[in-house]
């Protein structure tokens, strides 16, 4: 099951709100700053149909939910960034389980797409397992606890 091009744009807006670029005190390279098309294309191709149905449903519901939100009356993409963040965080704290889980499904997909970029991996200081561990870590691997 594949998303339509306009659905991918809706998902990209949500991804940008989940992992925004240029956050003071945070990582600078957000979801909109890295190419994620290749990952999403692969995910669409191989993820089970039910999962893609969930991604599609979550994308639509999050897009349309602000229409019902007090005083907003506009879709997710037309909200100010601060309102987008607030909405997502509110969904995460919802007392309704399925509402809480909606953005979570997208979060997993978005994070996998984002982390697939080598520059993000460098930003995260995630070193390839093939590279040698830093010296401090080798030293830290010596036991701090007594042998059990």
């Amino acid at each position: 099951m594949r998303l339509f091009a306009f659905e991918k744009r809706l998902l990209a807006i949500i991804a940008d709100a989940m992992l925004p670029s240029g956050v003071p005190g945070g990582l600078q390279r957000g979801a909109a700053s890295v190419p994620t098309e290749a990952f999403l294309s692969d995910f669409e191709k191989y993820a089970p149909g039910e999962s893609m149905l969930g991604v599609r449903a979550a994308t639509w519901i999050i897009t349309l939910l602000p229409l019902l939100w007090r005083f907003k009356l506009r879709p997710f993409g037309a909200l100010r960034p601060t309102d987008r963040y607030a909405l997502l965080n509110r969904l995460e704290q919802s007392r309704f389980y399925l509402i809480r889980e909606l953005p979570n499904l997208l979060k997993i997909v978005v994070c996998m797409a984002w982390c697939s970029d080598p520059r993000v991996q460098r930003d995260l200081h995630f070193l390839s397992p093939d590279s040698a561990p830093p010296q401090w870590l080798l030293e830290a691997s010596e036991p701090a606890t007594s042998e059990r």
């Binding site: 709100a17 003071p24 993820a47 999962s51 953005p103 994070c111 995260l124 200081h125 093939d130 691997s141």
Partner: protein, 511 residues
């Protein structure tokens, strides 16, 4: 030794035929151990595996490529119930062993005693027999405590916490020959030093003449009268779904089903076997687990060190166990609470985050039924209130460990609790929340019980030899025949039980 047959090398014919003394469906710990024992006894064996080979060269280390190539339903196998519970299984040559944490535990003595008392497991499966076999398994699978050189900070801090609290803990015993601490067990060991079935018992059995047909899903049980007499399956590319030839293998003496606690009962249901007791597919039990994130002043760099190199068994008697969990970075970021700038700020501290998990010996039971129109199995499982109360207690203890090790903050990710805890007191409100399974993001990684062993045809699916009560010549050797969960990681138990059953079967075949 022949190579593994799969859809890309079996040729384009419509039908492939073969025959052997014993045909085994599934190459996880149950099936591969059976192949190892039977071939050593001179029995001719064929193995059929739905998944594809997953060699080290394909193991890129990221979460998605591992899920795509080696996890059942790309990791989206879900149990429906009051909460959504991912049921994690592998689907590759070697079953789940290429992607598990390689954690090895012998079956606890109280569990074996319970099996003897309540499930009549005395003659074939007993403490003496299991201990004899565990010694062989330890030796052959290079079982040893995680070496200090492979600890990394994630494991070291966990050990430090247990030490400070005076709780029983130790480097995890794992089946790895020379762990380099790449923290990628769950994506497939990149150096193939993990002694999973695809690098141990499957090649050993093949060296003794066994044939392996991978990317082939067993569908039909062939019969000779009532007796199991072979298997038909269809080659199918696990990625594209491209369909290949039909495989028909005749079994001169026995068919063993080792497809795991979800797919074994479904195969039996589809083939009208094992249904006499009404228990087939029921009694689905598991170890639900969840994790927490602890933020330390010092770098943790959880991508160095054994994935699950340290564990705490202080509270095993209270049905809970704690262990280190090494997540792929993408999944680790997704587990962080919040969205937007808050998430990006948390992610910027990812080097400083430790991931520790808990599992409980749950009392909840679920069921498995075949899916409609041959689709995915329908899995039902709800974590009951008692088990949720256990998880709450376990979670609080895990928080206590994090602060004992010097964590500055804990990010629990539990609704109704502050998103950031700065002391142990912050977790106390957890106990005021209802015992609702929707509190936690749980996964279930150890699944048992859906074709359980018992003493009578009217209360169980298989006898102590593994033979299905109502179908002579058909055996079950995998986690589905274990009647209870154990509170410890089950690979060794599955191997041990399968080994003992296979020894008995080898005697039958030889006779």
């Amino acid at each position: 030794m022949s190579e593994i047959h799969h859809i890309d090398n079996v040729g384009g014919g419509a039908l492939i035929e073969d025959s052997a003394d014993v045909v085994i469906i599934g190459t996880g710990p149950g099936g591969a151990t059976a192949a190892r024992v039977l071939t050593e006894a001179g029995v001719d064996v064929i193995m059929i595996e739905e998944g594809a080979p997953y060699p080290a060269g394909l193991r890129r280390g990221d979460a998605w490529s591992a899920m795509k190539l080696s996890w059942r339903d790309r990791s989206f196998q879900i149990a429906k119930g009051r909460s959504i519970t991912p049921m994690i299984q592998g689907c590759a040559v070697g079953g789940s062993t290429p992607i598990n944490g390689a954690i090895i535990h012998r079956t606890p003595a109280p569990i074996i005693a319970n099996w003897a008392k309540k499930h009549g497991m005395n003659e074939v499966i007993n403490e003496a027999g299991l201990n004899r076999v565990f010694g062989r398994l330890d030796e052959e699978l290079s079982v040893a405590p995680t070496p200090k050189s492979a600890w990394g900070n994630n494991n070291r801090l966990f050990g430090l916490a247990a030490d400070r609290l005076g709780w029983k803990a130790a480097p995890t015993s794992r089946s790895v020959a020379g762990c380099e601490g790449t923290a990628r067990c769950n994506q497939g060991c990149p150096t193939a030093v993990k002694q999973s079935m695809d690098v141990t018992y499957i090649p050993q059995a093949m060296a003794r003449g066994a044939r392996t047909y991978a990317t082939c899903r067993a569908e039909k049980l062939l019969r000779d009268g009532d007796r199991a007499a072979g298997v038909e399956g269809r080659f199918r590319d696990p990625l594209s779904g491209r369909v290949g030839p039909l495989l028909r293998v005749k079994a001169r003496r026995a068919v063993i089903v080792s497809a795991g606690a979800i797919h074994t009962p479904v195969f039996l249901q589809n083939n009208r076997a094992g249904r006499s007791s009404g228990q087939l597919g029921k009694n689905l039990i598991c170890h639900p687990g969840t994790s927490l994130i602890a933020d330390f002043e010092e770098p943790v760099d959880f991508w160095f060190g054994a994935t699950q190199g340290y564990e705490c068994t202080e509270f095993w008697g209270e049905l809970m166990k704690f262990e280190v969990v090494g997540l792929p970075p993408s999944v680790a970021v997704a587990r962080l609470p919040g969205y937007g700038p808050e998430l990006m700020r948390s992610a910027s501290r990812i080097r400083h985050l430790a991931h520790w998990g808990l599992q409980v010996r749950a009392t909840s039971e679920g069921s498995v039924r075949r899916g409609m129109f041959g689709g995915r199995p329908s899995i039902k499982y709800s974590i009951n209130a008692f088990d949720v109360s256990l998880m709450k207690k376990a979670y609080a203890r895990l928080v206590e460990m994090a602060f004992a090790a010097g964590a500055k903050r804990v990010l629990p990710g539990v609704p109704g609790i502050p998103q950031v805890l700065e002391s142990y007191d912050g977790i106390r409100p957890l106990f005021d929340l209802p015992d609702d399974p929707r509190l936690f993001h749980c996964i279930a990684a150890h699944l048992f019980g859906t074709a359980a062993i018992g003493t009578e045809a009217n209360n169980s699916v298989v006898s102590e030899t593994g033979e299905v009560w109502d179908t002579p010549g058909l055996y079950v050797m995998d986690a589905s025949n274990l009647p209870t969960n154990m509170g410890v990681n089950p690979q060794h138990t599955i191997c041990g039980v399968s080994w003992l059953m296979s020894e008995r079967l080898a005697d039958v075949v030889s006779a």
